[in-house]
């Protein structure tokens, strides 16, 4: 187990290095640089600015510096925001995205497991048909439509009530988070429902369920202890990639609901060609996702002892 963990962590570190390298060289192959605008009025000013950001050194030296600084957890200074550390930007905006993402995952997982189990229990009956129809809708409708509709629903709700029950946009309280998180988790929820349904259908006809029934275990207990517990395992496996999908999918929701998360910040930085911010956020996000997937895999081994043997 420890050897496996160490191996996975080492792989993760190499992957992050790979992401950092690709990002670095990709960014530096962009024609021009962030200083080639009006701010660098004279060649002297420009030279000074380039020296400050280290852009006057050879590419490989810059790369070495970038890696060295990254190892110390320093992503440099933003190009577009004077004297603002990329670290500060991440520190300030990532918790917002993470909170939203965690809430969305909770919504998605809880909903997916519940709906999936329900559809399997009521297989080919009305609840199954209705839920599976909604699931197909959830997979086929783009997230920005849900985001727009969610906002529209909030506007109507508040107008009907005559006061602000849930704010339409912004960030700050739990009330701000509910609808964006729900919208963010919706497609993942649909996907998990589908997965849970097929896994539950497999479990329902398993031998140990028949045994349990024969022993006279009450149906409620069979459902919670035997069926749900075993059917949930595949859902746990895809939680890693699901976290990845949800954190990056956060861009749209953050944009529509005006949430000051890292995703929105990243899009902004890209539009302004802010190199250090782009590199910093990409490497940070990449590392976060890589280690999230590893964590979930390890967690899976802990939940399901059969996996550990392999």
């Amino acid at each position: 187990m420890w050897r496996y963990t160490a191996k996975r962590l080492l792989q993760g570190v190499i992957t992050v290095w790979f992401i950092a390298t690709v990002t670095f060289f990709a960014m530096h192959s962009v024609p021009g640089n962030p200083l080639s605008d009006a701010r660098a009025a004279t060649p002297e000013i420009r030279a000074n600015l380039e020296a400050r950001y280290g852009l006057d050194r050879p590419l490989m030296e810059q790369y070495g510096l970038f890696l060295g600084n990254m190892l110390q957890g320093d992503f440099g200074i933003s190009f577009t925001q004077q004297n603002r550390q990329v670290n500060d930007i991440i520190r300030e905006h990532f918790p917002v995205s993470a909170t939203l993402g965690i809430l969305a995952i909770v919504f998605a997982a809880a909903g997916g497991i519940l709906w999936g189990a329900l559809t399997a229990l009521y297989r080919n009956r009305l609840p199954d048909v209705v839920i599976m129809f909604l699931v197909i809708l959830g997979i086929s409708v783009p997230s920005f439509v849900f985001a727009g509709l969610g906002q529209l629903a909030l506007v109507n709700l508040n107008t009907l009530a005559g006061r602000t029950i849930l704010p339409v946009a912004g960030w700050g309280s739990v009330a701000h988070m509910l609808v964006p998180a729900l919208v963010l988790g919706l497609s993942t929820m649909a996907y998990l429902t589908r997965l849970m349904r097929s896994s539950m259908l497999e479990v329902i006809s398993a031998d140990y369920i028949r045994t349990a029934r024969a022993k006279g275990v009450p149906p409620g207990r069979i459902f919670t202890r035997h069926q749900l517990r075993n059917a949930v395992l595949p859902v746990v496996t895809v939680l890693g990639p699901a976290i990845a999908a949800i954190t990056t999918g956060g861009f749209v929701v953050e944009l529509v609901f005006a949430i000051p998360g890292l995703g929105r910040y990243f899009v902004q930085a890209v539009q302004q060609l802010d190199y250090t911010v782009i590199m910093g956020t990409t490497v940070f996000y990449g590392a976060f996702l890589v280690f999230m997937v590893i964590l979930v895999d390890l967690l899976y081994g802990w939940i399901d002892p059969r996996v550990r043997l392999q």
């Binding site: 792989q11 992957t15 790979f18 992401i19 690709v22 990002t23 990709a26 960014m27 192959s29 962009v30 024609p31 197909i136 809708l137 997979i139 086929s140 409708v141 783009p142 997230s143 920005f144 439509v145 727009g148 906002q151 529209l152 506007v155 097929s198 259908l201 497999e202 990845a244 990056t248 999918g249 861009f251 749209v252 944009l255 529509v256 990243f266 899009v267 890209v270 539009q271 060609l273 782009i278 956020t281 990409t282 996000y285 990449g286 996702l289 890589v290």
Partner: protein
């Protein structure tokens, strides 16, 4: 057994050969190839067939549509912006605009019982209002609202403040649309405070067009024969127009071209690359296999959307460029490893199958093995992957265009249209609904088709539904 039982009587006829022959082996069902079999299974799946028709319909819409509906998606109908689908396109011919000083009043018009009245029939060229003097008022303020003021609790937008001595008229020409307007007139005293009660008037403005405009837009065969009051049919926008007055149907078709171009070409390219990569890796095996798969692992670990955005920057979309090509390249660069892994797994599995060993034993060449066993047996899985890759690619394009990192204006794409439509979601919902419904239908069709193909082509991957 002492042979005590009686022997039955035997006659000579018992020893003649039987005449009828019984067939011990017979092929009951017709022999079908794998693909015939798959097709029959697919055909019996109603959902898959419906989605197949949907896909065909979409292709027709995309490629045949622009031929039938030959409207430039970039041309603007500037005074007809954000038209809802099926909007009225009747217009009344009116005389060219002439200044008006409150002197001219058309027959049957004038100040009504309410105190506020129309001097002339209201149209989108001009709305001319007259009113009775209010006691104690030295000036007037006129409000305009598109909603009934008593319902929304506000008189609306103040359009004019009339303070000139004795002026009891006002001409409203501000951004008139063919719809109902609710005017509210308030009398003002010398300090600008309201005096007395207010007058209200509801006016239905009709769409107006001058002969000159008819001629310029070629709406009528003989524009000179038209006189005031004649009706002219304006250009037709069956699905309405967007916020810049561009025809929605033409834009949806243009957007379909972008979305399907990316949605079909990108999966084709990366699946092809992934197949070659995975097949080489699986077939050659050994250290090369290990190396190739490590590379694929790295690419898989890249955060997909982040790198899509990053690549868009790296390829640099200059002004006036559509950004479609960079998106295609980035999609291919980032999406191939999943297919490569899948195909490699398939090849490794097939390589160990008994029929491959048998073929090898009988002296089959490597080329024969690849052509006869490897490719046909992986084709089903590849086709299914391809179908499922299409929705993902379409979603990615829509997502990027939505956050403004995809196609650049004026190129239409369903994603960018949704983005523009979102801003006026409350007032003109069709601008958001139409493109997003198109995306949803396309994604839905390809998802269902993928499900059907998977059930038909690959028994192992079959759903438990």
């Amino acid at each position: 057994m002492a042979g005590s039982t009686d022997m039955p009587e035997l006659t000579a006829s018992d020893f003649t050969p039987m005449t009828g022959r019984r067939e011990t082996q017979r092929i009951v069902r017709p022999s079908r190839s794998y693909w015939q079999d798959a097709w029959i299974r697919l055909r019996s799946n109603r959902r898959a067939i419906v989605s197949l028709y949907l896909v065909i319909g979409l292709l027709l819409f995309t490629f045949l549509g622009p031929v039938l509906w030959n409207v430039d998606p970039a041309s603007q109908d500037v005074d007809r912006i954000s038209l809802p689908p099926g909007a009225d396109r009747q217009a009344e011919v009116v005389a060219p605009y002439r200044p008006w000083q409150g002197d001219e009043i058309a027959p049957g018009h004038g100040v009504g019982e309410e105190g506020l009245g129309l001097a002339m029939p209201a149209n989108t060229q001009t709305i001319r209002l007259l009113w009775e003097p209010m006691p104690g008022a030295s000036g007037y303020r006129l409000y305009r609202n598109v909603f009934p003021p008593d319902q929304v609790g506000s008189p609306g937008l103040p359009v004019a403040e009339v303070t000139r001595e004795g002026q009891l008229y006002y001409e409203d020409r501000m951004d008139l649309q063919p719809r109902d307007y609710h005017y509210t007139l308030v009398g003002l005293d010398g300090n600008g405070e309201q005096v007395g009660s207010t007058d209200t008037l509801t006016v239905t403005a009709r769409r107006a067009i001058t002969v000159e405009e008819v001629r310029a837009r070629a709406l009528h065969d003989a524009p000179d024969s038209l006189s005031s009051g004649d009706a002219v049919r304006l250009s037709w926008h069956p699905l309405g127009t967007d916020y810049l007055g561009r025809d929605m149907l033409a834009r949806l078709m243009a957007g379909a071209q972008v979305s399907l171009f990316i949605g079909i070409l990108a999966p084709l390219l990366f699946v092809l690359f992934g197949v070659v990569y995975g097949a080489v890796s699986g077939f050659v095996g050994g250290r090369l296999d290990h190396l190739l798969m490590r590379i694929a692992d790295f690419v898989i670990a890249l955060p997909f959307l982040l790198f899509m955005i990053l690549f868009q920057v790296v390829f640099g979309i200059g002004p006036g460029e559509s950004g479609i090509m960079p998106m295609l390249v980035a999609l291919v660069l980032l999406s191939w490893p999943a297919t490569a892994r899948l195909v490699r797994g398939q090849i490794l599995q097939i390589r160990e199958e008994a029929y491959v060993s048998a073929a090898r034993l009988m002296g089959a060449t490597r080329r024969y093995l690849i052509a006869r066993h490897m490719i046909p047996n992986t084709l089903g899985v590849i086709l299914v992957t391809l179908t499922f890759a299409v929705p993902t690619a379409i979603f990615t394009e829509a997502f990027l265009s939505f956050i403004g990192m995809g196609v650049a204006p004026p190129t239409a794409s369903w994603g960018s249209m949704s983005n523009e439509g979102l801003k006026s979601m409350l007032t003109h919902p069709h601008e958001l609904i139409l493109p997003s419904v198109m995306i949803s239908i396309t994604v839905l069709a390809f998802n269902l088709l993928g499900d059907g193909l998977r059930d038909a082509l690959d028994a192992r991957m079959r759903n438990t539904e």
